[in-house]
């Protein structure tokens, strides 16, 4: 088959401790070598990509994406969602099972795999329901779902409310070494809430969702993960208190990992003052102190990875009264730009840590053979222009929806080429 040479870029691969200007050689869809630039004979090359001035990373992995199919194809489909992923530099996404019907059977997992194969875009890994029909009442057929290819389990969109069931999920998943991805929320504390509880919600008269609503449940799940030796992955951490609890749990050796979303380290609840429902998501935008804590958590590794919680909603659903509009924000096509602009450019983290957070660690948490440019792995590679400044235009998004509050923002850093299994699947400008 074909040989591809990505020449002269800054190769950043934390899985091998690599950060140097070098070439990446790909043959027949697999990484062959990271050779010292210009010094090694590579044989016949079918295609060369000049990566001078670009960051060359193992393909980015977003472990928290709502592809909406099956059931809500008016918001997003597997095809449009994965095209949005490619445009954002992601070569792999993990899709969350709160579809209609939810992904709680082997057939449903198979459906996603087939649709993804047909779309022939990026890799789609399936997160399956932890409870049957995502009802939080009894265990889903976790063993058979693992056989079908599920990489993790989650009832995201809702917490697993029954503490005994939660304990069983941790125990049972341990048998397959699969993580439980937790949406942490105490529903009595957030009932009717549409934004962060604080001075802004008080002034706007909107019902608040207190930080405690997230933190109380994080506390419960840390305790249960501890007693079961289960693997807890806390999704979309949004509060300073949550970061502190996860840091303390890690220090005690509890098997907990965590992700944060770009909007949670970029925006505060002040954004809600215009009543624009594009700023409405769950967990909600918090405060400056929470942003600072999340960034600190990313810097010191308390928060392992950056995930988008890409949650498309058709415009007619978002253009409603604020409390009727659904929770959710697009993420795939702005994640790199926001992360570079908010974290790398101000010097909070370097490129190796960013690549670790967006590729190495999500791949490791999901247990997938990605997130590395080690010879022999499928050649998923992302090329990022770290200096490119660009204007976010939702109308040019590959996603089917436009619910991004970042429309019109100027960001720095963007994926310019996305390579999946050795094939260039996306190039900025289509060239």
């Amino acid at each position: 088959m074909a040989t591809l040479l990505v020449r002269g870029g800054r190769v950043v691969d934390p899985s091998q401790g690599i950060d140097r200007i070098d070439d990446v050689l790909v043959r027949d869809g697999f990484v062959v070598a990271i050779g010292h630039s210009g010094t090694q004979p590579v044989g016949r090359v079918d295609e060369t990509i000049d990566a001078a001035g670009l960051i060359v990373t193992p393909g980015l992995v977003d472990m928290h994406v709502h592809l909406r199919e099956p059931g809500r194809e008016e918001d997003e489909t597997i095809e449009t969602g994965t095209r949005a992923a490619l445009a954002g530099g992601f070569t792999s996404v993990a899709c969350i099972p709160n579809t209609e019907p939810p992904l709680d059977t082997q057939a449903a997992v198979e459906f996603i795999h087939q649709k993804a194969a047909r779309a022939d875009t990026c890799n789609v890994f399936v997160v399956a329901c932890a409870s049957r029909n995502r009802e939080g009442k009894e265990l889903a057929e976790i063993g058979q779902l693992v056989e079908a290819g599920a990489v993790a389990f989650s009832d995201d969109g809702a917490p697993v409310y029954d503490a005994e069931l939660m304990r069983r999920i941790f125990e049972y998943c341990r048998m397959f070494d699969k993580p439980f991805l937790a949406h942490e929320e105490v529903l009595e504390l957030t009932a009717g809430g549409v934004m962060n509880e604080g001075l802004v919600s008080l002034v706007l008269g909107l019902k608040g969702m207190p930080a405690a609503g997230e933190e109380v449940m994080i506390g419960r799940d840390i305790v249960l993960a501890d007693v079961t030796s289960g693997r807890l992955h806390v999704m979309h951490v949004s509060t300073a208190g949550g970061v502190a609890m996860i840091r303390a749990a890690k220090a005690r050796g509890i098997r907990v990992t965590a992700e944060a979303c770009p909007h949670h380290f970029t925006l505060t609840d002040e954004s809600l003052r215009g009543f624009d429902s594009n700023f409405k998501m769950s967990p909600p935008l918090r405060t400056k102190a929470d942003i600072d804590a999340i960034i600190e958590g990313i810097v010191d590794g308390t928060i392992d990875c950056i995930a988008t919680d890409h949650a498309p909603h058709a415009i007619e659903k978002k253009m409603l009264e604020f409390d009727r509009a659904p929770f959710g924000i697009l993420g795939l096509e702005t994640a790199v730009g926001l992360s570079v602009t908010r974290l790398v450019e101000p010097g909070r983290i370097g490129w190796p840590r960013l690549v670790e957070a967006m590729s190495t660690l999500p791949a490791r948490i999901l247990g997938i053979n990605r997130g590395t440019l080690r010879p022999g792995v499928p050649a998923d590679i992302t090329l990022i222009d770290p200096a490119l400044t660009w204007r976010v235009d939702v109308h040019s998004f590959a996603s089917k929806s436009v619910n991004s509050p970042f429309h019109g923002w100027t960001l720095q850093g963007r994926a310019v080429a996305t390579i999946v299994a050795g094939r260039v699947k996306y190039r900025l400008g289509g060239g």
Partner: protein
């Protein structure tokens, strides 16, 4: 007919807004202009009784997604007093149940050639959303617990009528601050005009966080009554509460109802307001509601004056800008 001399001809140039969405984002001068305009119309209509023709040919729609009789009647009457045509559109559930969004409903009304929409809705920010999607004036007649600017203005108007300048006047807002749009509109208007505001009620209804914007928070009505020049007794909004914020109405009334006993320890000229409908016996006892210091009926008349002023500023003719050829 009213004397032509005091009828305004055009909207003052200082008023630059097309809508009245909230008081939080208005300046002190803009609030004074609203109050002055209300006073002007109160006088021009002989105490809100006579009819003018200054808005003849203008059509105002009241678009209410929540039940209301008092506010809607007040707006309708105010518009008619100025000569405008009024169409009442009740939308509580009807158009939404057909699957039409409220923005579509409003756009349909706009296409019929109206000049302003007076909107009430249970969701905060809905008037703001309408203002973004419509080209006609939008007047907020209450958006959930957020704001009720004309109620805030009429309360302040009533106080100002009795006390003149509000600088240094101490106003206690008592009761269900959490769910009260009236509280929020009063708060902003009063603070901007230099009054001192005390919010009073149980911690489940009055957040400590209000201190962050520079107002006083108290959970003890007996402690604040002697210091207040004005008490505004807000209705308990049972319909907006998820969980009961106090054990019983009896206990609430015991702690926070304005009674004759509490009145005895107040300043002699304490003014009492209550934006209706009041729950007699809960927020205020009957003898206090009907006492000489009660402005409850003034508030109703002044509501007409304020709404005339607001409608005029929103729909009235603008002077041609000078200096252009």
């Amino acid at each position: 007919m009213a004397s032509a001399a005091i009828e305004p001809e055009t909207v003052p140039a200082q008023w630059t807004h097309r809508h009245l969405l909230d008081l939080e984002r208005l300046t002190a001068n803009e609030i004074r202009l609203l109050l002055d305009t209300a006073a002007l119309f109160k006088e021009a209509t002989g105490g809100c009784r006579r009819k003018l023709a200054v808005l003849a040919g203008t059509t105002v729609v009241t678009l209410f997604f929540e039940n209301s009789t008092r506010t809607r009647t007040s707006f309708s009457l105010a518009a008619r007093r100025l000569g405008a045509d009024v169409v009442d559109f009740s939308a509580s559930g009807s158009s939404l149940s057909k699957g039409e969004s409220f923005i579509d409903t409003a756009r349909n009304l706009e296409a019929m050639g109206i000049d302003a929409v007076v909107v009430r809705h249970a969701t905060p920010g809905t008037p703001h959303l309408l203002a973004q999607h419509l080209s006609v004036g939008v007047i907020n007649a209450g958006d959930g617990p957020h704001e009720h600017p004309t109620q805030g203005l009429l309360d302040i108007f009533s106080i100002r009528e009795r006390l003149g300048d509000l600088t240094g006047v101490t106003v206690g807002l008592v009761g269900d601050i959490a769910h009260s749009r009236t509280a929020r509109s009063n708060l902003w208007g009063l603070v901007k005009l230099g009054a001192k505001v005390i919010l009073c009620g149980p911690p489940t209804l009055v957040s400590e966080r209000w201190r962050e914007i520079g107002v006083e928070v108290s959970h003890n009505l007996d402690a604040i009554v002697p210091r207040c020049d004005v008490l505004n007794l807000l209705r308990i909004q049972f319909e907006r509460q998820n969980t009961r914020p106090f054990p019983s109405v009896r206990e609430y009334a015991h702690l926070y109802a304005m009674t004759r006993e509490r009145l005895k320890r107040a300043k002699k000229d304490l003014l009492i307001l209550a934006p209706g409908p009041i729950n007699r016996g809960v927020e205020v006892t009957a003898e206090v509601a009907d006492c000489p210091q009660s402005l409850i009926l003034d508030q109703v008349t002044n509501g007409l004056a304020v709404r005339m002023g607001v409608l005029w500023l929103t729909c009235g003719p603008r002077a041609a800008t000078g200096g252009h050829a």
